[in-house]
């Protein structure tokens, strides 16, 4: 049976160092929830607080209505998958998977049946009597996954489970994890620093920095409507251009370097003329042409088959990344003077001081 997890104002310190200064989030029942952030942002610390391996200094964590702060790890009924697999090397594949069931006083035949079934789910039933030492990382991580799920945990916790695998295996395991989670509908908390992985796998993502959640939302929200410049630059490639709010007829617009003006997306009501802003432009939201737009000069170009990637120096010496998907044109040579048109409706605008989005309807999420 899955549970919802409520985290209320939890605080974590290691000695004098504040890791998480009071964090609240509610993870829904059966949800695939990802904690995303660079190393040291507190995501693993939070995960280990849920698991019970880290103490909770202040605040509470609930599974449904039960406060779990003082329940020891072995009584929380969680399944955990670790970055380094943490397979028991002295036990065979089947014994590894059976380990948790044996702690639950089940009878032998029931255990065997469940183990076999689970090994089939993760597609390693042919390895059941082998010791893990000679297995590949992918196979070991499948054991770990099976071992964690077979106990029918209330919560499945995964700490960077794919980062020790090579690129090909990572993709394969990613879809295996997603598929299994969909099938068993276990509330899952997943920790990763890889934004692409987070986008691909999650129902919702919490982007963390310095122990604080910067934004919570669906992968689409996080990518398309980032709450602040940190999220904007952390997820996907981005160019941040300085600009100023100006009036363009009835609408508001943004004036960029050398006077180029673009129509703004729908902004908050309190936005005023002359407000200093930052415009987030994804590389594919530029359009390379000869007539209108930001003036720039090609520094270099990289042909990548599906598109061409340019680095272009603007007149204020800022360098921007541009993706040109129009393969009918020839590649602009190094040193060429070009103009960059911006499709500002797809772009995001942030106040330059607070670095928070001023696009209407964009929130931090919860």
């Amino acid at each position: 049976m899955s549970v919802s997890i409520s985290i209320n104002q939890v605080v974590k310190r290691f000695g004098e160092r504040m890791i998480i200064p009071g964090l609240s989030v509610k993870i829904r029942e059966g949800e695939f929830f990802t904690l995303l952030g660079s190393s040291g942002c507190g995501k693993t610390t939070l995960l280990r607080m849920i698991a019970g391996f880290n103490t909770i200094e202040e605040g509470t964590i609930h599974f449904n209505d039960t406060i779990i702060n003082n329940i020891p790890p072995h009584k929380r009924n969680i399944g955990m998958v670790f970055q380094n697999y943490a397979i028991f090397p002295h036990l065979t594949t089947a014994e590894n998977v059976a380990f948790g069931l044996k702690n639950r006083k089940m009878n032998r035949s029931e255990i065997d049946a469940k183990v076999m079934e689970m090994l089939k789910v993760v597609k390693i039933d042919d390895l059941k009597d082998r010791l893990p030492s000679k297995m590949s990382g992918g196979q070991q991580q499948r054991i770990a996954l099976a071992r964690a799920i077979v106990i029918q945990p209330d919560v499945l916790l995964m700490d960077e489970p794919l980062s020790n695998l090579d690129a090909k295996l990572r993709l394969e395991m990613r879809s295996a994890i997603k598929e299994i989670q969909n099938r068993f509908k276990i509330t899952t908390v997943y920790v990763t620093h890889d934004q692409e992985e987070a986008l691909a796998i999650s129902d919702r993502i919490a982007v963390m920095k310095d122990g604080i959640i910067q934004q919570i939302g669906s992968p689409v929200d996080i990518y398309q409507r980032p709450y602040n410049t940190f999220v904007a630059t952390f997820i996907g490639q981005s160019n941040l251009l300085d600009g100023r709010i100006v009036r363009m007829g009835d609408e508001l617009g943004i004036e960029l370097v050398n006077g180029y003006r673009v129509a703004a997306p729908e902004l908050n009501a309190d936005v005023f003329e002359g407000q200093e802003v930052k415009l987030l432009v994804r590389p594919n939201h530029f359009e390379l042409n000869q007539d209108i737009g930001l003036e720039g000069q090609v520094i270099d170009s990289t042909f990548l088959g599906m598109h061409i990637q340019y680095r272009i120096r603007l007149v204020n010496d800022q360098t921007v990344e541009v993706l040109d998907q129009d393969m009918t044109k020839s590649i602009a040579p190094k040193g060429a003077h070009v103009k960059l048109k911006i499709n500002a409706q797809l772009c995001n605008v942030f106040d330059r001081k607070t670095e928070v989005s001023i696009v209407r309807g964009v929130t931090r999420g919860e």
């Binding site: 280990r48 019970g52 880290n54 072995h74 399944g79 380094n84 943490a86 948790g100």
Partner: protein, 552 residues
Amino acid sequence: MNKGHRIKWDVWLAITICALALFALFFIYPIVKIFANSVIDPETKRFTLEAFQKFFSRKYYTSTVWNSLKVTTLVTLLAATLGTAMAYVMRSIRIRGRGILEIFIIITVLSPPFIGAYSWILLLGRSGVVTEVIDKLFGIQFNGIYGFSGILLVLTLKLFPLIYLYVSGALKNMDNSLNEAAENLGTVGIRKIFKVVIPLILPTILAGSLLVFMRALADFGTPMLIGEGYRTLPVLIYTSFISEMGGDAAFASAISVIVVVITTIIFLSQKYVASRKTIEMSSLRPMEPKPAKGLKNVLAHLFVYLIVFLAALPQFVVIYTSFLKTNGRIFVQGFSFDSYISAFSKMGSSITNTYLYSIAAILIIVVIGTLVAYVAERKRNVLTGTLDTLTMIPYIIPGSVLGIALLTAFNQRPLLLSGTAFIIIAVFVIRRLPYTIRSSAAILHQISPSVEEAAQSLGATPLKTFRKVTLPMMVPGVMSGALMSWMSVISELSASIILYVGTTKTLTISIYTEVIRGNYGVAAALATILTATTVIALLIFFKLTGRKEIDM
């Protein structure tokens, strides 16, 4: 990661406290007592520095300090040079019969040092075999190698294998690309060795040298047999304690304190130097021994074989001697099992004692060592930290000092233990425990804590996790460490020689006393039994671990 600096009441805390209590009673208390004895007048019970004054006022005593330091330092330097050179040659040049050579080297390390002394007396003593040849050949009166040169020869040949094993291990961890990079940049030959190889393995050489220094300084058997007039500190401790039993024990205590001060200084300075020179290496592609050609090949083989021959020679002499026909104490023509027959009839109990005590000691060492390593590594707090530090102190306490300490601490009621088997076992445990704790901790270090966390998340209690996961993963490493410890325990002499009584004699003590009595045949037979035991244990070790190398 939760370092858990707070102390929680659980089974681990109970274990920590028990271990601390045991250690305090059987190690700290005796050592403190010996320190106290050195400055307290036994009759007036007042503070006095008389014992130290006595020591420092007579050249007869102070000269032993210089004697000890001189011979120990030189042994360490020679052993380090010889061991490093051997290791480098064996790792870089393909030597025929390398496997068998390494087994000889290992056996040399594991045999008691005084067996070397005694064999060299048979060879190069006043009436030694080689001495007689030299005398005849050159028509001179060679007096044999006693004193300084004797100790130097015996201890260097006995201890260089330690450095060899250490350095050989370090060279295995040196990626060959470092060698190739050096050569690629134009640094070759001797220059490469001194500019690249030596600096990289220097921490290892230092660590090995510390061990050699400690062993050489603390060695009692060798200077006692071959030292003659050349008095070293352990000999002085032993003679002044034995001859002054019941009299002025303060003096032996004072010398013990002086020795401990020296070993502490050496230990700390080695730690200081080593901490500033730590280099982490892990090799994907270790150095491969390559076949050498011509003169270089011949010289390399000559060097390696000569050194191993000299190092292993005492063992062969002992085995050969054990089969000589004897008439009383005199060897006569021909071979026989006489020595073995009288060894078993006279010394049977010392053989069973050796096995009994050493196995009991190893069981205790394994249990305590594993538990202490576990709490020190996984349950870090003030108490376990203290325990970890305390259990390292036996490193710097020479055997004879420990022997005297235990005897002074436990020779009266209610703690009357002297003369019992218990005290011998205790001394074995204390002397070997630091090594077992270190090696168990190293094994634990290799086991990721997340494996234990995985077990807990799957519903195993902390104790069950230890039993079902941690312990089974540690067992292979701990077992091979235990076998290693056992081999060194059965050759212990310097502490047990002080603690033994007639009924608690062990093999090494019997060998020693038989040599002193001039019963060379029986001594050789007993020594051969000891060597055979070691070889069998070593073969079991190789079989168990599938390895061809050992860690000390």
